[in-house]
Symmetry: C2
Subunit: 310 residues, 2 copies
Amino acid sequence: MICVLAGGVGAAKFLRGLVAVVGDEKITAIVNTGDDLTLYGRRICPDIDTVTYTLAGVVNPETGWGVANESYTIRRTLIELGDTPWFLLGDRDIGLHMFRTQRLCAGKKLSEVTAEVCHCLGVPISVIPMSDSPVATKILTERQDGSLKEMDFQEYFVANHHEPVVRGVRYDGIEAASPPPQALSALGECDRIIIAPSNPLLSIGPLLAVDAIAEILRARRSACIAVSPLIGGKAVKGPAADILTSLHAQSTVTTVASLYREYCSSLAIDPQDSDESVQLQALGVAPLVTNLWMRTPQEEAKLAKRVLHG
Amino acid sequence: MICVLAGGVGAAKFLRGLVAVVGDEKITAIVNTGDDLTLYGRRICPDIDTVTYTLAGVVNPETGWGVANESYTIRRTLIELGDTPWFLLGDRDIGLHMFRTQRLCAGKKLSEVTAEVCHCLGVPISVIPMSDSPVATKILTERQDGSLKEMDFQEYFVANHHEPVVRGVRYDGIEAASPPPQALSALGECDRIIIAPSNPLLSIGPLLAVDAIAEILRARRSACIAVSPLIGGKAVKGPAADILTSLHAQSTVTTVASLYREYCSSLAIDPQDSDESVQLQALGVAPLVTNLWMRTPQEEAKLAKRVLHG
């Protein structure tokens, strides 16, 4: 049994590779919910949806998120009504959000609705939100004039194209976060824990900020390996490098190792970053040097296999 | 200036006729909100939407409600997810509901959002909800075994196809209903008030149960004419006849007149019901005998003209 701490696109691709490698073996993904938001009355869970769509085989291959062959009637209607939608609104995606919202309003837990959706869409692994109660990642950004402004995650990430300089990150509601019991038991009982190649502060950060999750990880450090989201010090996608630089002085796999060292005993890094192996070892984190690119299903599976078997 | 108390399809057709007759003259429709509901996180206002779509020229001509040339991607998605949607879900319609929900969540009043939508869609009259705070029509129904069950309006009307016998109707939230000031000033200042051909208990009932509206109508009784929703004792559409029979012993224009006599001085009735003219006069309600069918835009306009000018 394998447990993966997962963010969005990178984690989803890695999980797809893992499924290709281990097949029917039990995989549990515990997914970040700090990016979740309510928009037009619908509860949206971007990371859960990305993982779900990817593993259901319906993800848009061009973006890595959203549904393939999507239609945009709702978006056009909103624009006709004078609205300026800043968050992409595909019809099928909205249908899933409406389903989720209706179930949540009826008193179901997010973990229950997620399981229901995954079952219907034929997702072959367990996808579990990190918390059934809402957690909201808040981004402290610096304006051009040096003044600070706290933004909601999606305001920073989507509306402002993750351009603002990040001066702080906090996870609103994290103290009261309620990890589903099946997430904790999976983490406690699995053979291997993998921290997926996701943004350490925006995607994995919220997961590690949940006390119950952090506690198990610290106790099971030797069973846990992380995958660097950086290749050659750069993020494959998104603002990870910029944020590591603004908050931790540099964007290197050493920085990633220092953030994860409490929770994992090794870190998969790309050959481009292998010159930092010594620094990792100094931090007590064993480097596993392997190609981190996941441009094809073959590369996804190869990486998963390497991370799993060393 | 003309004020119309309006329900759904019948009222919308009548209003379309009125616009054809009076053109640019100021028309205000004060619309029932007792049927409103929240579904899949979206705030739905069936009567406001029917009036809006009809006067914007985008209504589905076959149903009299919803949008013409609608697509159903969301509905299909929900069904794929194992949901059994009992309320029709057209994509464009959902887009409007999402727009409304977002605006309401941002603190706008229903009357403000309605005005915004009407402006964008080119609706040539003022459409004002009867209340900015929620009112919910509740239907006491009788089961086959004689036991009673209270249903939400749409549970009775849509999910149960208005088949259950109705033993009572109440308007939840009506004491706290907040009619928008512009509705009250329009009612107070207009030259003519018209009660549209809508269900007296389900559509007009909630409007008349709003204290501030009823008060103005009583004071302006002589300026007010109602249009019977019955033709030959039968409803053109919907359960009006059944409900009048179960709650008021018979489904006749005399019953309608007895329900409206406090608020209007005359009632437009169809030639088929002209034998009740004497009973109407005995109730102090002057009958205006005229063809009530609105099967074509010509008939709609003809009826509106007759109701307006006697």
